[in-house]
């Protein structure tokens, strides 16, 4: 399911702190205090991750590259391709619409009621769970949905004349955008807040027009935040599972659904660990994207923090 981020600098680096250097008895005692936490995390986070990584390179207990190589099979590559395309398209659409909405919001009074309500609503909608969201769209655009019926009865328009696209990739694009836009509003708003009025006033007093302000000052300043936020939206869509699982019942067009079939259906002979390999592939993609996001966040924080 789409994971909502509460704030954009979740990955900002921690401030540097001095560490005590000697391994005294007191220090060992202190370390003991963190054992429960680390033990828990190792059991339920590190080990599963290792299972995935090792399993991707294992077959019948021996090291093999076959699973990873199998990722090159056309149907899996197509799934990755569709996942990437779905994530990219919804990220870009969500980013543009979300940025426009965020800009509209930032011109209002900070701390005022409009801002609070829209921010809270965005928080909820960005969190909007996969299954509940899918059902919401079924009620809206499904075969007997409100809008479908309305268009048919009042405008003579049959939405599904050329097939029921809601349960295929185009449907996913529409539904994903629904939670991508609010996420963008939440993630991009702080960057917009960081734009100081003095920069606009300085541009004007130096003779700049509104166009020049946006192309030479605000645009460049917001670019890292915008790109970073788009990347975050990409990772968000790429990782999403529940929405697609609830909407798509025929076929497995995207990677998370492929993983579902690898886990639940009769395993193709000799490919038990293919699911692990696909999962590893997902982690690699998301990790790269998040790393880029973190880098861009540092730049944003320096300019607009």
């Amino acid at each position: 399911m789409a994971a909502a981020t509460e704030s954009p600098d979740l990955l900002a680096p921690a401030p540097r702190v001095r560490a005590p250097r000697r391994l005294t008895l007191g220090r060992v005692g202190s370390l003991l205090g963190t054992v429960p936490f680390f033990a828990y995390v190792v059991t339920f986070l590190v080990i599963p991750t290792l299972v995935v990584v090792i399993g991707a390179f294992t077959e019948d207990g021996r090291f093999t590259m076959a699973n990873v190589a199998a990722l090159g099979d056309s149907y899996i590559l197509q799934a990755y391709g569709r996942s990437v395309m779905l994530s990219a398209v919804t990220a870009i659409i969500g980013a543009i619409i979300g940025a426009v909405l965020a800009y509209a919001l930032v011109t209002s009074r900070p701390g005022g009621p409009l801002r609070r309500i829209v921010t809270a609503a965005s928080g909820v909608l960005a969190q909007f769970g996969g299954v509940t969201l899918a059902f919401a769209f079924l009620a809206t655009l499904g075969l007997t949905g409100f809008v479908t019926v309305f268009l048919r009865d009042h405008l003579g328009l049959d939405l599904y004349a050329n097939g029921v696209w809601l349960f295929e990739l185009p449907g996913l694009v529409l539904v994903y955008t629904y939670f991508q836009v609010p996420l963008m509003v939440i993630v991009f708003l702080p960057a917009l807040d960081g734009i100081r009025p003095q920069w606009r006033e300085a541009t004007e007093s130096l003779g700049g027009s509104t166009w020049q302000y946006w192309t030479r000052v605000a645009g460049p300043l917001l670019a890292p935040a915008f790109v970073g936020s788009t990347l975050l939206l990409f990772a968000n869509a790429f990782s999403a599972y529940a929405t697609a699982a609830a909407l798509v019942s025929q076929g497995n067009p995207i990677v998370p659904l492929q993983i579902r079939s690898a886990l639940t259906s009769e395993v193709v002979l000799g490919r038990q660990n293919l699911g692990n390999a696909m999962a590893l592939g997902m982690v690699v993609v998301v990790a790269v994207v998040m790393a880029l996001y973190a880098l861009l966040q540092k730049r944003t924080a320096r300019w607009l923090g």
């Binding site: 986070l45 991750t49 609503a121 299954v131 409100f146």
Partner: protein, 264 residues
Amino acid sequence: MAGLRARRARRQAVFRWTTLAVAGVAFLLPLGAMLEFTLRDGGGTWALLIDWPQLSETYPDLAEGIVASFGQAVLTALLMLVLLVPTAIWVRLRLPGLRPLVEFICLLPLTIPAIVLVVGLAPVYAWVNYFLGSSSLTLTFAYTILVLPYAYRAIDAGLSAIDVRTLAEAARGLGAGWFTVMARVVLPNIRSAVLSAAFLTVALVLGEYTIASLLNRTNLQVAIYLLGKSSATMSVAVSLAALLLAFVLLLLLSLVGDRRKASR
């Protein structure tokens, strides 16, 4: 008079209200459609939904899923608090060098999607099943990992806001032991951060589907999904109710956060 700035302010206001109005309609439409969909039978669905005994009788799986989800939410919140709060405070006070590592670990789940985590959790949960049975409540263990980034961020922000070191040093100077410092000095001061973390946890757990369904357990979302196959109307009604509940939770969360800011 000139009024150039006033004109620009007015233009911005028009843009602002138009854009937000259009967006508001677009985003509230599905919610409205859900309501309309569930009222097509004249409100019988909602009457059934709020009548718990009838509901459990008519849709036992749904009732089981709802109960399971609330149990998971409570247990995950508790486990998260017990695990994360003492560790976060402890690391801040006694092991500041470890803080980047703890932060990295807590943010790791952001990079490991639930669908990936569940692949690796299957063998781990084989052991959990062996020791604790296969009740849906055991999902708590996985959920605590899922909520780590959000809960940690909330608690960490709360700790950052209160200068823990000075408080701890003052208390230690007055003779307090480490447990006293954590329980009676730091904890009361991060109450709203802890509450935020708890709210976020509950909201997240109530919305989780991936791990529950792929580990063959039940929760609210799984129940809704399965219900959709047999009763579209009721499943949409429960979805809407779940969404409104999440909204209320996050609204309360923002109020809690506001009170913290107001008291500073």
